[in-house]
Symmetry: C3
Subunit: 324 residues, 3 copies
């Protein structure tokens, strides 16, 4: 391993920033710097429009720290150039400013825990290797869960963006159901992959996906739409539906199953539709599970659902692992 | 794998219905169609007597869907004919009508999630294979937990059969302790393996077990009785004791350890008694864990306890895995 | 395995008591009977001073039962003589009298569940073997979590030492911050490894560590001090800070990473400092997680943190596994 180990690139070189863009693109399984650039554009647009620019700068800090960590720990260079050290870190950088107050101690947490995702990913991938799946975004999910739960008893991390802890129960399924509203929810669900509540961001993400691979964009669009339909059919929490919170994990499940880990064909398409359906239930179930803690599920439902649909090793023209 | 893959049997053939009965029998590790038939008789009797016939029809739908799914996914045929695709599905079909309202969307959930247990089982068994244990009823437990937790924020799935979420704490340990009462609790605990609160059902289950294997019936009887004694000794929740809710997981632990995975002898008998004792604590512990969510443990305590008593690989004349 | 299996030693032989001391020392990774003797001295002093002598006698009962169990189950003898059957049991024996009332049924639970840690350890180590880590104190954590959660619905186990279940939220970060206070918190944090709130106990533990290995004592001291600093910096719950509850898991992480599983050098030192920092967050996060149940985290945060810092298999001059 030592011989192919990565040497730290010049931090301000063009190649390094390209790697950071790829790292952002890998959140949706795309090894493509242009895709990542569109994702970053969507993040910057959305975070400024929704009045929380710290999310955008956190994203940059997160992808930077987690990628640099890969070099510092001398992991194999080809993982770095494919952006695989960045996708968990960029999500940590989006999540902490979304849920916590913008204070220096929060930035220290971003620096430490986005870095930590890199070795947690290597560790979890090591665990999952015998089962021929990778850890997906679970290193981000796990470390961020710990930080957000910790914030509940750390006055130094204001939990201003977290919902109140409460026993699961009463909620309203009311929301606007005009056609225009539904289109906005559908695109917002795609934007929520990076925790951005903005339909324009979702549109920029779709364009970024299409640049890399048409099928990725198509499955992202189907994933968000079907999840929206299932959430409406089963009369889920209306506010969450309108915020796209039932769609972002299914979007990732759809891209993972529909075109990343299986060949595109009609058999895998049926499988992917089932996966999207199940992800909505897992999302709702995990929402309930974390309700007494007031902690978001992050992309946990996507990880769980995709593992459950990959572990059986079906004869569905499985492709080689791309992520991890 | 493709060559021995199962071809879909004629659905209304006698052989197919025999497989469904075996699938029901495999809930208690019995590869015996007559046993399964007695189990189904117990389920039908109990669900009609307790006024919720949807449980019986759900059981049939669940075992049907999960078995058919094994054929559709072309898993190895010998698993199908032994009934190993059915035991998780039949439990999903019992559980959802027990805890949720009888509405069409609930039946759609039975269809999807009982099917899903088949590939979740294959996936989990794949994970557990290096440790020489199988997933037991955990595919049922996992998928049903997600659906029941989801129902807390899905108005489309009325959570009418679930207890209210509450912080763990106050409860009454009062219950009737006449000899006749105790006998009823003891038999009811066996009936609760399929979530049926009926001592007649428990008796039918014992008969079904005895048809297949005397030791299975004996250990089921011991498991329910010892668990009842431990629950009374430690003064557990009285209502749950009377409903047999501290006994059904120990019944399964007893059959698993006492005669399925170990040879029957005095050393494995001591081991099994310890396992039954531990299962009562794990049951009570998991009851507390899920209390803030108001979600039942299902057969989770049996799975956890049996794993903890099988993983150490003792020199207790271990038999070959039968289930999974 | 049978050929090297352990034969039951004479229970009152000197060698057997030496093994019990080693088992106590292994809680902090020291295969040294004198270290264990100092630990036991600290436990006895602290438990009598804080008015709960049952903790000390529970510790003895626990290390005795779990060690004897290793012989009864005929596990390989070299594990027994290194004290590896004792360290989980001694902690069960400290924990149950700390959190539960001193009644005969509590002692029955100590006997059963401290014994159980021995085979749960063998089982979990079997699971973790492919990943070249061991289960650390997790067998103690897992079995004790089940017993304490069970106590919530067992009147036979008074939960008098457990905090009230409550949704996470309000707390005070106030505590005394004089230099003398801080020194007391620092030493108390080391004493809390065995659940003893006494700075003298912490001092006895440090001396015991130094007898075995200077680096073990140094890292324990650094672990407690840095954890205290991080907890103060992030303004954690003041009462828990003063009771040393943010320090005991980092103490174990520090000994594990700083000198047990990696060679002592400056690179592993940086790694260990990061591990201590992360352990405080994982401690706070798990505190929140268990808040609705009113259950303590025990040494769970140490296990999670140390796994996350060992799984990546860094080229940091890793040493051979000593524990497990």
């Amino acid at each position: 391993m030592e011989t192919q180990a990565a040497t730290l690139p010049r931090v301000f070189s063009f190649g390094f920033w390209k790697i950071l863009c790829k790292g952002t693109g890998q959140v949706m399984f795309q090894d493509n710097a242009w895709t990542g650039l569109f994702f970053l554009a969507g993040i910057f647009y959305g975070s400024y429009v929704t009045g929380n620019p710290a999310v955008a700068w956190g994203a940059l800090a997160g992808v930077f720290m987690s990628t640099i960590t890969g070099y510092l720990l001398r992991y194999p260079a080809e993982k770095g150039t494919a952006g695989l050290w960045g996708f968990n870190g960029v999500l940590v950088g989006c999540a902490l400013p979304t849920f916590l107050g913008n204070v220096p101690l929060m930035w220290l947490a971003i620096v430490i825990f986005s870095s930590m995702t890199t070795w947690v990913m290597v560790g979890l991938n090591h665990l999952l290797a015998p089962y021929k799946v990778s850890s997906f975004t679970f290193p981000f999910v796990l470390t961020t869960w710990f930080v957000l739960m910790a914030a509940r008893i750390m006055h130094g991390l204001p939990d201003s963006g977290l919902g109140a802890p409460e026993l699961p129960g009463n909620f309203s399924s009311a929301f606007d159901t005009g056609f225009k509203d539904l289109v906005i929810y559908w695109l917002t669900g795609i934007g929520q992959v990076f925790l951005i509540k903005s339909w324009v961001t979702g549109l920029l993400f779709l364009i970024g996906l299409a640049i890399s691979n048409y099928w990725a964009a198509i499955w992202a669009a189907i994933g968000s739409a079907l999840a929206l339909a299932v959430a409406i059919l089963y009369q889920c929490n209306g506010g969450d539906i309108a915020s796209g919170l039932f769609s972002f994990s299914p979007v990732l499940t759809a891209i993972a199953l529909g075109m990343t880990f299986y060949q595109v064909n009609w058999r895998t398409a049926i499988w992917t539709l089932l996966g999207i359906f199940a992800t909505v239930f897992i999302q709702a179930g995990m929402d309930t599970f974390f309700s007494p803690l007031g902690i978001p599920t992050l992309t946990g439902p996507f990880c769980v659902a995709t593992w459950l649909f990959l572990w059986p090793h079906l004869n569905l023209d499985k492709k080689i692992l791309q992520q991890g």
